[in-house]
Assembly symmetry: C2
Homo-oligomer: 411 residues x 2
């Protein structure tokens, strides 16, 4: 009753995709709720009819309506489901029309993603990766403490949790003088991330002030930015990662709103040196979201947790990312995806990718008693997130993907 995350689902019977809210082991079908005329608030009574914001294959239109609409939807759903409210409680036909068992729901991409950007906002990750890719002397580039570094990613290959991921082939260079080879990626990695789903956009040329940035955040999902490290190492100079990242990025299906996360607001790391004024926040904060990554190799009986981290460690906050992204005038659109970058924390098991966990493969970790370096064919990777406090639980569910063997192909 507190979480009420939004997603897009269908079932074997209800073939057309529609909006839903997850409630314990059920999904509330918001198209059916609209059809029954139960969205009676000032915004959704207009926007949620047939063909309206819950009767579409994506949540972009609902995301674009902004906080007042999201709060109104939350209020209506909480009211409908409250023990004292009789409309749904006493109408078994209506219950049957509106509530679908979660195991029957087939989840789809919650939004159509116009643009996908990935930040690099955890200091621990940037330092660890910098040391691996460029050496230990200067792990952080000089700009890192002054701006949230980011790159544009590929939106066509963003996939919903549960979709298998084909190991990419690509150019790899062993070092030295010889030519590169074209081969299946041999250093497959996950990246533990969370991502913002953008709500209302901004007009071209009109930056989002950092203190207003949360109004542009519809909610958060879990994200796995699959990374082919051997391909990345060879291709990334001077314009950044390309084929090492663009073959797949997985997100979890349920969008958790900032309203739901409000009880888990927490402080963010202090920034030193002080940032420029356009990045200075009146109420700087993060969210306390414990995150885990588990790997289950093919043929094993259960997933093995390899990482425990937390969104709270981000050096650059979500509002700072949006403010910086738009500072030069770039427009965001509803449904855009903005990744946090790999969320590593200082703990030994708090590293958000295998490159960090194994020091670039030099110090294997262990799974099922065997040394483990990088993802093998058949391995399933599950990212999960769950906030807990005083009996209140806000879960993000899972973001899961299994590695398929590379296709046969040219050399």
């Amino acid at each position: 009753m507190q979480n009420l995350p939004f997603g897009i689902f269908s079932t074997q019977k209800l073939r057309d995709r529609r909006a839903g809210v997850a409630i314990s082991d059920k999904v509330l079908d918001l198209k059916a709720v609209s059809k029954a005329g139960l969205f009676t608030g000032p915004i959704l009574s207009k926007s949620a009819g047939p063909g309206g914001c819950f009767d579409q294959g994506t949540l972009n239109s609902f995301a674009s309506l902004g906080q007042p609409a999201w709060k109104e939807a939350r209020y209506t759903v909480q009211h409908l489901l409250s023990a004292t409210e009789s409309i749904l409680r006493d109408d078994h036909q209506l219950q049957a029309d509106c509530l679908v068992p979660q195991e029957e729901a087939i989840m789809h991409m919650p939004v159509s993603i116009g643009d996908y950007t990935d930040f690099y906002a955890a200091k621990e990750h940037a330092s660890n990766m910098g040391a691996l890719f460029r050496g230990k002397e200067n792990p952080l580039c000089p700009n890192w403490v002054h701006l949230p570094v980011a790159y544009h990613g590929r939106s066509s290959s963003i996939i919903i949790s549960g979709t298998d991921v084909r190991r990419p082939r690509g150019q790899v260079h062993g070092g030295g003088e010889g030519p590169p080879t074209f081969q299946p990626c041999n250093v497959m990695d996950f990246e533990l991330e969370m991502a913002v789903i953008v709500g209302p956009g901004n007009a071209d040329g009109t930056p989002i002030p950092v203190d207003q940035a949360e109004e542009h955040i519809f909610g958060l999902v879990l994200m796995n930015d699959w990374s082919a490290r051997d391909i990345q190492r060879w291709e990334m100079l001077p314009l950044g990662p390309f084929n090492s990242k663009n073959f797949a990025t997985s997100i979890s299906p349920w969008i958790v709103t900032l309203d739901a996360l409000e009880p888990f607001r927490c402080s963010a790391p202090q920034q030193e040196p002080e940032v420029l004024p356009y990045l200075r926040e009146t109420n700087r904060g993060n969210y306390d979201i414990p995150l885990q990554v588990a790997i289950q190799p093919e043929g094993t009986q259960q997933p093995h947790t390899v990482t425990r981290s937390n969104l709270r460690h981000l050096y650059w906050t979500l509002p700072q990312m949006l403010a910086h992204h738009t500072a030069g005038g770039c427009n965001l659109r509803p449904g855009d995806l903005i990744g946090s970058g790999t969320i590593s924390c200082p703990a030994e098991d708090g590293k958000g990718c295998l490159a960090e966990l194994t020091a670039g493969g030099k110090v294997p970790t262990s799974i099922g008693g065997k040394p483990y370096r990088f993802l093998q064919d058949g391995d399933a990777v599950t990212i999960s997130g769950l906030c807990e406090k005083d009996g209140l639980k806000i879960g993000f569910g899972n973001c899961i993907g299994k590695i398929l063997p590379a296709r046969p192909g040219p050399v």
Copy 2:
């Protein structure tokens, strides 16, 4: 009658966007042609009716149909307009319905762009920029001759020729120990490029073989990848350009098909060392497309040509770009935009951006008798392209944009 480029237009009277073909000083309204039942070929008689591929606000659906549909459309249009064909010639009402004077046509984005990628395919440009950004010792990164380097760009801020471009503000660092400042870009540049509009896409996980890549190219447009060099220099390590590029990218409105360009096919630079098999072409070639860039400072009477280059100089061909982009499994979608990178050639006036033309501002060029380094507020930049051979002309029109002063903003 040979060019027949496709675009999306409206007029004061015909408010809803529709597909058109440019023919000398007219635009043939393909929605009206469809409505008159004149697309009688096997594909378009089905796909071009009301609400069909020419009666939409974009050409994505037509692009997705592939070469047979594009050829059929070309054939029908050429047939309709031929002197011996009476349907249009003798029907003045039909002429009035189908032909719009070009000056009445308001041009719009020709496609909805899902993803935008920018390559870096001209050796001259990569060497010049490498020397500026990293020093003259190693201007080309070692990977450059082995793969077509590229980065993902921002699709939300791609704009149609004629749209003004606001000078971005951003972080700039003067060098040395001090902190960066946030200020209007002081080193505004254009980049002379051409771009592929993707036709049929490829399935996730299924690379496009280099010898089949042209089937996935709907056509070409001119492109100006506006670049804020001072912001770029500070932000781009280690993940590539971000705010220095994402505030605006302009494209020309008319998509010229490869069919129209066939007479201008020419050889491409020989590649040494030999490329890997997935990039080896059976019939390697470029197109001989002379390109110009002209700058007209505010208050001056005429544009001043600063650059003369040619697409033929690209070291990496368009098919190699598509083959590499998809080699790891990345899926392209109809309407995707794939930029060539700045097209510089060896000639002194053949450099495709001001950073190259002025050696990073150190050696000014001259406009109207005054030294000129980078773009000033009010300057209009026009990229144009025109192929000519044996009396045949294939024009790309113009890609134009004027620099507006930066918005007032925080420091």
